[in-house]
Symmetry: C2
Subunit: 163 residues, 2 copies
DNA sequence: TTAGCATCATTGACATGTCAATCGGTAGGC
DNA sequence: GCCTACCGATTGACATGTCAATGATGCTAA
């Protein structure tokens, strides 16, 4: 990556072939990693990573319950996505919904016994898979670098808020 | 990250809190990045990244055509996924399918004029978005590191082939 | 020959995600 | 008091992805 070319950065330049290759490797590999984690979790525990995120948040919440919109913010989902997902999880008996006592027109999401058990059973295999597929794949330096890269990308996404 | 603890790596240890935090940042940020790219491409060109991958492969192919299974291998998709996607793209007039002359029971996928034009129109904005959201977000060193991290993760995924 | 098997591609059933519309209720502005 | 605008949450329509089953066709071995 030389600085000798006239309009290197800060310019209207398109990515170089090298940059594009790295981009493709990076984005495809991280997608494959997510997908592998997803199927590991699925076969280890019959939960999706979405289920896991919801159950984790509820497990750590006061009284194992949260307001729906709070939960959406906490795990960073759109509300309609959460609503659909909670409907599916409720049908499977993992959570329950009831009117919120304190907030008018609020809905409270509760962890059921079955949900808590499913989460307990999923935790260990899931963390083990994260170690095997991510932590053990990288050197300690690379893990730090991955954190910095994520932070830099996140900052860029935040600056370039969608229009 | 010290080596002083008894069972550091190569062990049955779960990830540390730091490792887990980095893991979450990393996987969520890359997912958000994909999603942002997807919506940029969508609003710039009315194409999805899936459409783009198919059109890119066909554009670069001999005669702007490929056998279906060749195409699936080339872009790394399952065949059923490709088949569904081609059906949708065919309905929109971006590609055409016809029986393959050389291979029995093979199907040949052809780029239409509309497909080629849609791809031409999408290329520049898409590459610009990759520059803005990825290349410009990172230092040159970080881009190199991202490439190495992707390679290491990919190698790990390949070693731990699903069962 | 023909039964069984492998291969290429498609299909159907279903899980998941997004976007826009809706529903019910609360709160201001007048 | 009433109209309106907003807010939390859900819903419907649709795009996309996976898995398992199904055609359709050629290959091979008894």
């Amino acid at each position: 990556m030389t600085d000798a070319t006239p309009d290197r950065r800060g310019g209207r330049q398109l990515p170089t072939a090298d940059e594009l290759r790295i981009w493709r490797d990076f984005i495809e590999t991280t997608a494959a990693l997510s997908s592998r984690l997803e199927s590991r979790l699925q076969s280890d525990s019959a939960l999706s990573t979405g289920d896991y995120a919801v159950l984790l948040a509820l497990s750590e919440a006061q009284g194992q319950a949260m307001r729906s919109s709070e939960l959406a913010t906490h795990i960073g989902w759109e509300r309609s996505r959460l609503s659909h997902h909670l409907g599916r999880m409720e049908r499977r008996g993992l959570i329950r919904r009831q009117e919120c006592a304190t907030v008018p027109r609020g809905s409270e999401v509760l962890l059921t016994t079955a949900g808590a058990e499913a989460f307990r059973g999923a935790t260990f295999p899931h963390l083990r898979a994260i170690r095997e597929l991510f932590v053990d794949a990288l050197t300690p330096d690379q893990i730090v670098a991955a954190g910095e890269i994520a932070a830099a990308l996140r900052a860029r996404l935040d600056v370039l808020r969608p229009h």
